[in-house]
Amino acid sequence: MPIINFFIYLLTMVGIYGLLAMSLNFQVGFAGLINFGQVAFFCIGAYTSSLLATKVGIPLPFCFAGGMALSGLFGYLMSIPTRSLKSDYWAIATLATAEVIRLIALNEGWLTGGPFGVMTIPQPFQFLFSRDSYPLFYLVLVLICVLLIYFALSLLSDSPFGRDVKTIRDDEELCLSLGKNTRQIKLQAMVVAGMVGGLAGALFAHYITFISPENFRPIETFLMWAMIIVGGRGNHAGAILGAVIIELFNVSTRFIGEYVSLSPDVMASLRMLIIGLLIILFISYRPEGLIKEKKKVYYLKRRDGE
């Protein structure tokens, strides 16, 4: 029985991180926006949704929506400096901003509960299921979200919008010369990515029912980066694959520690050391990741009909 519970937990976390990886991938792999503050979307989505649920008491779908909306808004704010800042400066700015957000969550206890965080977060449809079967329901909920977002993002990336976004990544000057308002397009991409990240945050908060600033340290952003670097940028399947690999590695090494009699501290260091090495190795030797970006092939089918 415990094994099944563990797998359900693992898959649920993979799903949540899959959403985060797809969100980051949309920014990095599609729009070419190097975001080192991705955890901010996670944090804002989680806190907004859980605070709306615990302090304001509105129905849960609205809490989730609120989390997504606020994260989307944050994405909009983050997109504003992209016009004037070069990639590496903007990356540093996002890192700094995400940490400021976390410090606000840590210090403004009257709003966020400070270091104690938000507790007893209600769970959707709790009353419908027994305590044993609820995790399975939640897993299904998360997986449905992952599928929906996967299809939505695929639609977006195959659309004219997606075409514009990809060209901004490769050659922004060309886009400008073709009359595209690149600032607006980047803005829209960031809002979309923000909303997906916010959804992940809300799902996370209502799953483990207790969040604190400790859940949103910068290391989370780097984990998500490892996912898209290993899995493959520029395509959504790669993001999910990366989430599977990294999260599997992350969670399973926690359990191996029990059998290999190494202290949790040592296991944690080893785990992160390997993640760092993976990032280095993949960028150096296989920068496209495991799943490469595919050529847009649908025109081929038309060729047959001509």
Binding site: A152, L155, L156, S159, P160, F161, G162, R163, D164, K166, T167, D170, D171, E173, L174, C175, L176, S177, L178, G179, K180, N181, T182, Q184, I185, Q188, V191, V192, G234, E293, K295, K296, V297, Y299, L300, R302, R303
Partner: protein, 251 residues
């Protein structure tokens, strides 16, 4: 259609453009020549909004366009190509053409997700027009190749096709035949002339080859050291002593 008055652009103490004034009419092909470093590409960059001017006025279709963003100027109908042809690696030739299409739908997330049928219809229309243009440019067989894999000359043809997809009122072509072999050059010239006559656009070309200039241009401006040195028909320019001196004796 395009009126430039006393345009000034400085790089530090260097006067790249020194009070240049010229006019380009509609439904014709004008040329811009001059030795290297005379300011031709700088002129294009300022007019198309990629560089900021230091003085002067730019009027397009009677409206002031100096100070607008490059994409804003392009949307007004004044479009350009680049000296080094741009070919984004991860996009196919056909996608490049579709990218440039003037009337597109689905270019924002909302319409991309929720108005898919209309998006698909407009895409199909643009696809037809793109294929037509590719025929004229003889690039049809390469339509599903990555733009980055094309030869230099083919990239230039693609740039031309892209800018015509924009259906602009005026096109600034920056050295469209530079680095292109003679056969392809003929093809390009033919394509430019054919497209211009078909669509009645106004074209302003930067060129080094007098052959190209004399075969397709209605009028030519000559720049030297950032100043307008001469203007006239290709025949007049070729006989102009100052121009000959600049090319043979000068920079």
């Amino acid at each position: 259609m395009l009126k430039i008055k006393d345009l000034q652009k400085n790089f530090g103490s260097l006067r790249a453009l020194d009070r240049v004034s010229l006019e380009v009419e509609g439904d014709s092909i004008f040329g811009l020549i001059g030795p290297n470093g005379s300011g031709k590409t700088t002129l294009f960059n300022v007019v198309s909004g990629f560089y900021e001017k230091d003085g002067g006025e730019i009027l397009f279709k009677g409206e002031r366009v100096d100070g607008l963003t490059p994409d804003g100027i392009a949307r007004k109908g004044l479009c350009r190509t680049f000296q080094i042809a741009k070919a984004p690696e991860k996009l196919t030739v056909l996608e490049n053409m579709m990218l440039a299409a003037k009337e597109q739908h689905g270019e924002n997330p909302f319409s991309a997700l929720f108005t898919r049928r209309r998006t698909a219809r407009v895409e199909r229309e643009n696809l037809d027009r793109a294929m037509e243009l590719l025929e004229v440019l003889q690039l049809v067989d390469l339509k599903n190749e990555y733009a980055g894999d094309l030869s230099g000359g083919q990239k230039k043809l693609l740039s031309l096709g892209r800018v015509f997809m924009l259906q602009p009122d005026m096109i600034l072509l920056d050295e469209p035949t530079a680095g292109v072999n003679p056969t392809l050059t003929m093809q390009l010239m033919k394509a430019i002339k054919e497209l211009q006559q078909r669509e009645h656009k106004s074209v302003f070309i930067i060129e080094h080859s007098m052959k190209v200039i004399s075969s397709i241009c209605d009028k030519v401006y000559v720049l030297n050291f950032g100043k307008k040195m001469a203007e006239g028909t290709p025949a007049e320019i070729q006989k102009n002593e100052k121009v000959l001196e600049a090319y043979l004796g000068g920079a």
